[in-house]
Symmetry: C2
Subunit: 158 residues, 2 copies
Amino acid sequence: MNEKNDYFMHQALALAREGISLGHGGPFGAVVVIEGEIVGRGWNQVVRLKDPTAHAEILAIREACTTVGHFHLPNATLYTTCEPCPMCMGALYWSRISKLIFGATGEDAASVGFDDKQIKVEIRKSLNEQNIDATQRLHNECRDLFQQWQSSDMRIDY
Amino acid sequence: MNEKNDYFMHQALALAREGISLGHGGPFGAVVVIEGEIVGRGWNQVVRLKDPTAHAEILAIREACTTVGHFHLPNATLYTTCEPCPMCMGALYWSRISKLIFGATGEDAASVGFDDKQIKVEIRKSLNEQNIDATQRLHNECRDLFQQWQSSDMRIDY
């Protein structure tokens, strides 16, 4: 088990190293594995793609979903070189991935300047206590969207 | 101010309604605005794109970054028909958007079956207490990536 896990972790490490050497973004790599096969690969490409959401885990999950043709990956394992940030943990839950193998910690990432720790602190607060200027408008109109959706013939739950 | 905010919120509402009618995904829309101009549009496309990260806010932020050619949007406001889920709040922080206008609440979304509430509960716990099978492997090798990155000529901080 550890041998198998370390094999896939080394794949994630290799992606991270290549990403660093190409200047694509931060030092992070990830793979998604289903039944012993890699179905998604990702490395941080925030700088290259000019996309703040282009974390290794997000890209690996998106590629895995393309490979399997579904937005849920219940039998998948995500291997990532670092504990996922809150954005990526959210993506993990939405994708229904049930197993996570990680290497470095969020503390390690924060210690070299990444925002992980600060974002984790913010996201644990309720919205009105977070370090963002948040205002609620058109509550009723926006809530009505849920009714439109619930009665839609096109509705597919996820 | 409220008039301006409601104008952009109505744009987000229109995107959400169109997305519902086309069966693209959940009932959510968003726009990113800089200096009074919409620079990014998004509506939930989880079902259409088979991508669990294709939330309205993520797509709007990605489009806005493409428009401005940068992975940071410090002067932007995100208008969204619903309080962002933890994944999208994470994206908001990584993008450095400083203002958020939202309509419905995460509670509203949870009440019609979306996972927002449950994800919020999980993400507030430390990793080993969360409802995911998480294992740490190759800590040292993965931490070494940060040193490789810090000494890389290609390094661009974000």
